[in-house]
């Protein structure tokens, strides 16, 4: 029988079906971070439980730590230092590998896990963080969970999971210049709404996906959670194998050959049935920017804030009016040219070396507008080292960007560093919710190219005007 990639991974890890239709799924890897992982570790030990396989559990410091140069354990986040200390102590007690504040492998969990070869095709990986779906880009079954589930996974090496439905999203056509994976995922969500993927494990496929490099695939899968999907995944191919070869936690020696032989079977069989299939013609996608407080409120950079449609319910109207007010925008207003106060390049969506190279291509020989505060936060120590080896840090700095230490930084506001009330920010992150980057802050999601171009212009700008 022809079966889907998802079904192959599921059945390879299904220990048994439980009464009521849920499955007991074997978990190969658990990743934690200091924000939610600390609580999970503490709670587990306070209940007197132990980790079944500490060697399969990893933890990063990324969410609460500062990203200012010269940082240590103190952080601007209120109470943050306690999270850092407690994570360190709990990790030591639990005997798990911690990527500590200034460890040479430290970085944002979804950046370092692929980079170190911790996530691999065909494995199950969970993390108490919603963007764990990113890691499906390598052909893994990786999804975000709550802290209690993380405790469950650590104590039992399993999770109780309801099997999601399957959806295939075919990305066809060609990509226009300056259009990136970020634009594609924003476009998909704008077209099919943030509820479009609810209940599904999504497989991205098609010629456009095959053409994307592994880092771009990570960006594509990153926002599956904004699409409400259980997770996303992509069949691993030679690009993935080449990406993983030689990474610190990737299989070695004889195991490598065995692993690759297995990984090559990880694809949906021809004729496999999905519960839902949608197709996206990528040729029609232009650089996308969000205008509202939900990722679905996005459109092409040459577009306008949509008019309020007739026939909307009173509730939807009120919600929309609130969005316009929060964002300081009017229906019909054009996005391009909208003055910004800040630009942020970073986060698990867009902080990898290819993202920084793209932004640098826009910034080379240019200056950030004097009215804009611009910040670049590499996703990991390795990305930062690589960027510095290529001289990218000089391009960012010369343009007027701050060049930071790796971490989540101002992707989200936790009471520490943030943008100022009412500020408008062009950002490569994944969430534009009210207050996400600080109380009253107006976030416009876009690709690194668009954010860099906007930083230079001092207003939302079309990257095609800056990339030749």
């Amino acid at each position: 029988m022809a079966i889907t990639l998802f079904a192959k991974l599921w059945s390879d890890h299904e220990i048994q079906m439980l009464d009521g239709g849920d499955s007991l799924i074997y978990i190969d890897r658990v990743f934690l971070h200091e924000r939610t992982g600390s609580v999970a570790l503490e709670s587990l030990s306070s209940e007197g439980r132990t980790l079944r396989s500490p060697a399969q559990v990893f933890c990063s410091m990324d969410h609460i730590i500062d990203t200012l140069p010269g940082r240590g354990d103190t952080t601007l986040v209120p109470g943050g230092t306690e999270f850092i200390h407690s994570t360190r102590q709990a990790s030591r007690q639990a005997g798990i590998r911690l990527f500590d504040v200034n460890d040479s492998d430290q970085g944002i969990v979804h950046v370092i896990s692929p980079e170190l070869g911790i996530v691999q095709p065909g494995c199950t990986l969970v993390c108490p963080d919603s963007h764990t779906c990113s890691q499906g880009a390598l052909g893994a079954l990786a999804w975000g969970i709550g802290s209690s589930q993380a405790e469950h996974a650590m104590a039992t090496s399993t999770l109780v999971v309801k099997k999601p439905l399957t959806m295939r999203v075919m990305l066809t056509g060609g990509l226009s210049p300056a259009v990136t994976a970020k634009d594609l995922i924003l476009h998909l969500i704008a077209r099919h709404s943030t509820a479009g993927g609810a209940g599904y494990a999504i497989e991205f496929a098609g010629e456009v996906v095959s053409g994307l490099d592994v880092e771009a695939r990570l960006t594509l899968c990153n926002m599956a959670v904004e699409f409400s999907a259980f997770t996303a995944l992509i069949a691993p191919d030679q690009k993935v194998f080449d990406f993983l070869r030689g990474r610190p936690y990737a299989p070695s020696g004889e195991n490598w050959d065995r692993a690759v032989a297995y990984w090559q079977t990880l694809r949906s069989d021809p004729g496999a049935q999905f519960d839902r299939e949608i197709e996206l013609d990528c040729g029609e996608v232009e650089p996308v920017v969000s205008w509202g407080t939900s990722p679905q409120q996005a459109c092409g950079i040459t577009g306008r804030v949509p008019m309020i449609e007739a026939g909307l319910s009173e509730n939807d109207r009120a919600t929309l009016a609130r969005t316009h007010e929060y964002m300081g925008l009017k229906p019909g207003q054009s996005l391009r040219g909208l003055t910004i106060d800040a630009a942020f390049i970073g986060s698990c969506t867009n902080s990898r070396i290819t993202d920084l190279r793209l932004a640098a291509a826009v910034l080379r020989g240019r200056k950030v507008a004097s009215t804009v505060r611009a910040i670049c936060v590499p996703g990991s120590q390795a990305v930062k080292r690589q960027a510095e080896a290529e001289g990218l840090h000089r391009i960012f700095r010369n343009a007027g960007f701050e060049w930071r230490e790796p971490g989540c930084s101002m992707c989200f506001f936790a009471g520490g560093e943030g943008f100022t009330y009412g500020e408008r920010v062009a950002t490569t992150t994944n969430r534009n919710f009210e207050g996400r980057q600080g109380p009253g802050v107006r976030s416009h999601l876009a690709s690194p190219a668009t954010v860099a171009a906007s930083a230079v212009a001092g207003s939302l700008a079309d990257p095609r005007d800056y990339l030749s």
Binding site: D19, G21, P78, T87, S130, G146, T194, N315, F413
Partner: protein, 207 residues
Amino acid sequence: MRKFTVLRGVAAPLLRANIDTDAIIPSREMKLVSKKGLGVGLFAGWRYTVAGGREPNPDFVLNRPEYADATILLSGRNFGCGSSREHAVWALSEYGIRAVIAPSFGVIFHGNCERNGILPVVLPEAAVQAIAAAVAENPQRQQVAIDLEQQKVASPDGREFEFEIAPSSRQMLLEGLDQIGMTLGHLDAIEAFERAFRKRRPWLFEA
């Protein structure tokens, strides 16, 4: 975990769609490495007059006297979307919310609720609005009743709405079971699976 069988209580409407976990508990309110002490931060961005402050905003629904002691929330689509932080559920729970009725929920949040003894009830948008309307006149008296055993919500206007829930979640909530303990009951099966799996995929266990 606290059992959930039948609940009758004041239901407060927060009918906006897409209320995310950061709105439920802002990041800045998660100051301790603990599941406790979060109730005061619930909806802090809306509930208090200034960010980080503690002066109640009189307009916010949970601060209005008629909705005092609410144990049920009525909400719009996609409640609990966004960040996976379980703190959102711990905050609701500590505040005293025992059930949320909405047309849909963020996936991770939905599971987090069930594991913490809060019942997420999925009803069509029209039903949620009908219940909110029926409550509005006198919320303290016009209470809503939820019967998990029967899988029914009784609106104060006498209408009843049936809802679906996964059988395993229903059992866990009804009996107040601890999921780790339940799973460790299958330890033999887990170990047998693991032995075979390690042989099949040895590269996943390289030390």
